[in-house]
Amino acid sequence: MKKMINIEVQNFSYKGSASAGLHDISLHIKDGETVLLCGASGCGKTTVLRLINGLIPHYYRGELNGRITVNGIDIPSAELYDLASIVGTVFQNPRSQFFSVDTDGEITFGTENIGIDPDEILKRKSEVVNELELKPLLGKSLFELSGGEKQKIACAGVSALMPDVMLLDEPSSNLDWKAIEELKKVIKHWKAKGKTIIISEHRLWYLKNLIDRVIYMKDGRIEKEWNKAGFNSLTSDELCALGLRPTEIEEKYIEEFGRGIFSTENIHPCSTLSSESRITLKDMFFTYKPQKYFIKKKKLNAADSADYTLAIPELEIPRGKVIGLIGKNGAGKSTFLRCLCGLEKDCTLRLTSDEETVSGRKILKKCYMVMQDVNHQLFTDSVEAEVMLSMDNEDKDQAAKIIAELGLAGYENTHPMALSGGQKQRVAIASALAANAEILLFDEPTSGLDHAHMTSVADLLTELAKKGRTIIVSTHDPELISLCCDHILCLEKGRLKYMRKC
């Protein structure tokens, strides 16, 4: 069979960066093959993809010794715009890969760039729309779409260019279970059309039946290679030892995520908790579409709650436990977290803990959210200053203690932006501890993390809960729930679906 992609690279290093290069990569991919690249963060998966789509050496500069050809074209000497119709790439972050504001423009963007005839563009567009079932998304603003929908539009934009090679760089990082199913359908469709597909990914379970070959990378080298049968016969422990996430999701999480949150059954009441110490949430009502008012705003209340975005009359949360917050995209998980930490000032929530009831702005003092993009919550120029900023009375010793507790000792004077993603997350947690927040909320803390990092987040959450903090973590990762959650809280359409012990 014809070799579609040939990579023979002795050496590659990024300009101005000592790490994250490649060594002795020899990779040949056949026409129509589906290949999975896996390995820990920083192992060079993305770098390999960049070699194939030409971003290296044309966009990311570096020292390259070797040859890369795709479909007979020598990549380092080709022009990027000529590669657009040969290699298509779907990137990790749905937020930062679209160029238009509306979906229609995004699908046709690539074809317009390479100067295809308008009639042909429209023909391709309607073809892609049919194939990927995008009709309901047309004519919308991309800023209103969910992550999964954005990712589908990104696939469509690449598809319209009709490349032979499709690259996907951790495409599922920000997607929920359902959206991953949709993504799987797209990949299947491409496979059926005979495209050569290369996927770099941490979440392995959804790919195990799609792939032909698996390449395992470590420290910039190809360490292992399996065919489909060989890879699927690996046990969870073996995968774990390699630092990979499991391919098998336990039956009970399939139940939880697959059927549990997507079933249309009636919402059944939550089981009551035993006599443990608890925090009570009352009158959690909130709506994004408040009634128009003339002079006085009407307070949100239970009687009108039928149309509210979020309506939870009463909920008891066990103290000092890790609670996994699940639900499909748009079920109100983010709204729940925002209301719980007091960011929505119209929310009528009253929070009772230790016989003390707070509401309104005072909730901000009780709860602290570690956001999905932690870059938004780091403000100062050193880790120490970051922690001190949260304190009412600046206390150096206390700050040093918290920093050490989170394993950041030695980084006191480092600029937070110079830290790795996981370390930044810990700085954000440190500032929450410094503010003495009782309830810590995490919004998707493990999206895009490899197995090792996910495990360390899970350990950290368990550790924090042991010290008496109550943790609520919204997640799409069944792996994370199985590692650290004590309870599962499931939302649907802004209503409590169930809350139960793990």
Partner: protein
């Protein structure tokens, strides 16, 4: 769903004429008539788009300012209150019509249409692509800014944590970091999809000037001529 569809070129022309006439000084009743008439057109277009609230708000503000200006303020009014009034009414009457027109155009034009119009007008791709990126970045900045403001609220540093400089610093630095990151990823994604090819871009939108566009343009051209004519004679 959409109101009266106008070609982006017509809309650009509309912004140009409205700004020209509304910003220049009107003295005679004829000049005032033209000016008010031209202000009414974008308001009418907004109503056809279903933006009743903004149309109403604008009309009310504009009418109040106009009446105040015409009836209560004369050349020899003195005092702080009238000075403030002159300032306020002046701004509303002189600038708001142009702003509402621009707002209407931004709200109703897709980036694809806009790019296509720029191509038809033989504007270089470099300029139209950069303008499109700017338009795409506004909602992004809004989103990012929203998240940062939330983070500041949680930290209790909305007012800069006691420092005046903090208020700006804590907002701008994370905002700049995330915009730079998004911009970098965005351009990597764009070049893999052929942006920067040394050929003429094409466009999926076929733009054609309809009779409606020609009529609207004629009205604006005529008003502009009348207005300038009145200025020269007067």
């Amino acid at each position: 769903m959409r109101g009266i569809y106008l070609d982006p070129r017509t809309k650009l022309f509309m912004i140009f004429v409205v700004s020209l006439i509304v910003m220049s000084n009107a003295v005679t009743p004829l000049e005032w008539t033209i000016r008010i008439l031209l202000t009414a057109i974008p308001v009418f277009l907004l109503i056809t788009e279903g933006k009743y609230a903004s149309a109403l708000r604008f009309t009310a503000m504009y009418a109040v300012s106009l009446i105040l200006m015409r009836s209560f303020i004369s050349e020899d009014s003195k005092g702080l209150l009238s000075a403030l009034l002159v300032g306020y009414c002046g701004i509303v009457v002189q600038f708001l019509p142009a702003m509402i027109t621009a707002w209407y155009v931004i709200k109703t034009t897709k980036i694809g249409e806009f790019m296509s119009a720029m191509q038809k007008m033989h504007v270089p791709d470099g300029i139209s692509v950069s303008l499109a990126v700017v338009m795409r970045f506004f909602p992004t900045i809004k989103e990012e800014y929203g998240s940062i403001r939330d983070a500041m609220k949680m930290r209790g540093i909305s007012f800069g944590g006691g420092k005046l400089s903090g208020m700006i610093e804590y907002r701008m630095i994370p905002l700049m970091f995330s915009c730079v990151n998004i911009g970098d990823e965005l351009s990597a994604a764009a070049v893999t999809r052929g942006l920067g090819a040394p050929i003429k871009r094409t466009s999926a939108y076929e733009l054609r000037l309809s009779t409606r566009d020609i009529a609207v343009m004629a009205v604006f051209t005529l008003s502009a001529c009348l207005f300038i004519g009145a200025k020269i004679i007067g």
